[in-house]
């Protein structure tokens, strides 16, 4: 089981959600986050002065998936979230030790 964490551009959220539904993903967690990478920040106006604001708004998606799904999920996110411009975000893949469904107590793959 893997945890896939993807940071994407906020306006790509709907596309990514659709692409993941199409390959059969049934759940995900979404968080509005801020951060910066190579895209750096952006400028904001404040009464006659321009300020560089470091952190840009991004959306973070988290999904727990079975090992065999990992490649397809990554592919789906790449297809749907890519614009080719700087600031498209990143995908992180990490191992999951356990998953437990709270309602039933099912564990691991059953709980996904």
């Amino acid at each position: 089981m893997k945890l896939i964490t993807a940071i994407i551009k906020p306006f790509k959220m709907d596309d990514v959600r659709e692409a993941l539904s199409e390959i059969g993903l049934e759940g995900m967690t979404l968080t509005e986050v801020k951060g910066f990478g190579r895209q750096k920040g952006h400028t904001e106006l404040y009464r006659g002065a321009e300020y560089l604001v470091d952190f840009l708004p991004k959306v973070k998606i988290e999904l727990g998936v079975k090992d065999e799904m990992v490649e397809r999920v990554i592919e789906a996110i790449l297809q749907s979230a890519q614009t080719g411009k700087i600031g498209d975000g990143k995908i992180f893949v990490t191992n999951i030790e356990n998953i437990i469904r709270i309602r039933t107590g099912e564990t691991d793959n059953e709980a996904i």
């Binding site: 106006l45 404040y46 009464r47 006659g48 002065a49 321009e50 604001v53």
Partner: protein, 444 residues
């Protein structure tokens, strides 16, 4: 206001009248003093204006300022506005009104109206009840110290805010009001300040600049951008200020007449011109017009027309509004970017500079000889523009000097009383809402 337009003899007549009314009421007679009877239309309009001006502070200014600070300090701003409103109101009726509008001498009123003693339902000022006049004036006494909050926002101790604001009202606001509107020396010279360019905007602006210098900048200034946490709130507050200003300037005629209507019209035009000018400068300079820029230009236009509003015409008002947009914009940039003075919400460049500019321009655009830009004439006994402008400059200069010195001394005294004016650095980083009030503005 209208009071300062009274000639000496008129003031004397009013005094005699007041004594007469007092005498009558003590004999339980209804007042029907010859000449000055209660005018119900005027009374109704000033009752309305009083509510409009109070709305400028609560919640207008509170929201306007509240949105501009960071989210950890939102409650501190709202609390300061509310507390200053309550303290100023009480101090005004205890002694402030008497110091401002008691007979006194050229420099200060007296204690004859302490706790409104001797003022009954029948007592009149002009042709409206004195209780109403005092209440209307109170709303100005409320907003002026509240405007200073913008300079020391996000770092001053709540205790220091309270003590400073109360003392400042009595030491700075009340005497200056007496000079200009209470029969004092500036009013006698013929200074033009219709609704508070000098009394409200110059005093609060100068005190703000002194506050920013004495307190020093917020932690992180000017490197860290300190962006507004909720501009929606700021625009809401700005809208309330704009509408409230109709009472501020329109009510300052102390009558429901052509003076009031013209004051309201020029106020509106200046606000519009100020907003558009500021936005246009930003558009040209940065490629975009910002919301905060537009509402700041609006406030600049309103503050600048304030001293001139009863004396100038619509043409003059447009010039005043456009000048306000330009000059206040560049003053803001100059104070913050060049001088690096952390007048946090730009009280001096917007209100102080606006008040100075408007007081000066009132001396010019009150002229009846400017064609489409003409106003309604100079003060009684003043014949030329040079003379009127000179009087305006004396008013501006003297009030700047007096306010700067007294505000500085007050900050020093208050600092001793409250063991420093600022919260600790760590507390400042945590935010005043939690540190000073044990509350958060936003809970999930």
């Amino acid at each position: 206001m209208k009071l300062f337009k009274y000639s000496h003899s008129r003031l004397a007549a009013n005094k005699i009248l007041a004594v007469f009314i007092l005498l009558l009421s003590s004999l339980a007679f209804p007042s029907f003093a010859g000449g000055e009877e209660l005018n119900e239309a005027n009374t109704a309009w000033i009752l309305t204006s009083t509510a409009l001006v109070l709305m400028m502070t609560l919640p207008g200014l509170a929201l306007f300022y509240g949105g501009l600070v960071r989210r950890k300090n939102i409650l501190s701003i709202l609390m300061q506005c509310f507390s200053i409103a309550a303290i100023s109101s009480i101090l005004w009726f205890v002694v402030g009104y008497s110091l401002a509008f008691g007979e006194g001498n050229a420099w200060i009123g007296d204690f004859s109206k302490v706790l409104m003693v001797g003022i009954t339902k029948e007592t009149l000022v002009g042709d409206i009840p004195e209780s109403l006049f005092a209440l209307f004036q109170m709303t100005f006494a409320v907003i002026t110290p509240a405007l200073i909050i913008g300079a020391y926002a996000e770092r001053m101790k709540f205790s220091a805010v309270l003590v400073f604001s109360g003392l400042w009202l009595l030491v700075v606001y009340s005497p200056v009001t007496h000079w200009v509107w209470g029969g004092g020396w500036l009013g006698q010279m013929g200074v033009y300040d219709f609704a508070g360019g000098i009394v409200v905007h110059i005093t609060c602006g100068v005190a703000a600049l002194v506050a920013a210098v004495v307190l020093g900048p917020r932690h992180g200034f000017p490197k860290t951008p300190m962006m507004p946490h909720n501009l929606t709130m700021t625009v809401t507050g700005a809208g309330l200020l704009w509408v409230g200003w109709f009472g501020f300037n329109g009510g300052s005629a102390l009558a429901a007449n052509g003076d009031a209507a013209m004051a309201m019209l020029v106020t509106h035009l200046s606000a519009s011109a100020g907003a558009l000018t500021w936005a246009a400068i930003e558009w040209k300079k940065f490629g975009k017009a910002s919301v905060l820029g537009a509402v700041t230009g609006m406030v600049a236009g309103l503050g600048t027309i304030t001293p001139a509003s009863g004396f100038v015409g619509p043409g003059g008002a447009l010039v005043i509004g456009i000048s306000a947009g330009f000059i206040c914009f560049y003053s803001t940039v100059f104070i913050k970017q060049k001088l690096k003075v952390d007048d946090s919400l730009d009280v001096f460049p917007v209100h102080g500079v606006g008040g100075i500019l408007g007081t000066l321009l009132a001396g010019i655009f009150s002229s009846t000889e400017l064609g489409a830009f003409s106003g309604y004439g100079y003060a009684e006994g003043i014949a030329t523009m040079l003379e009127q402008v000179s009087v305006q400059l004396v008013g501006i200069g003297s009030v700047i000097i007096y306010t700067a010195i007294m505000s500085y001394l007050l900050f020093k005294i208050v600092s001793l009383m409250t063991k420093g004016l600022r919260v600790e650095r760590e507390q400042e980083i945590t935010g005043l809402d939690l540190i000073e009030h044990d509350e958060s503005g936003y809970n999930l």
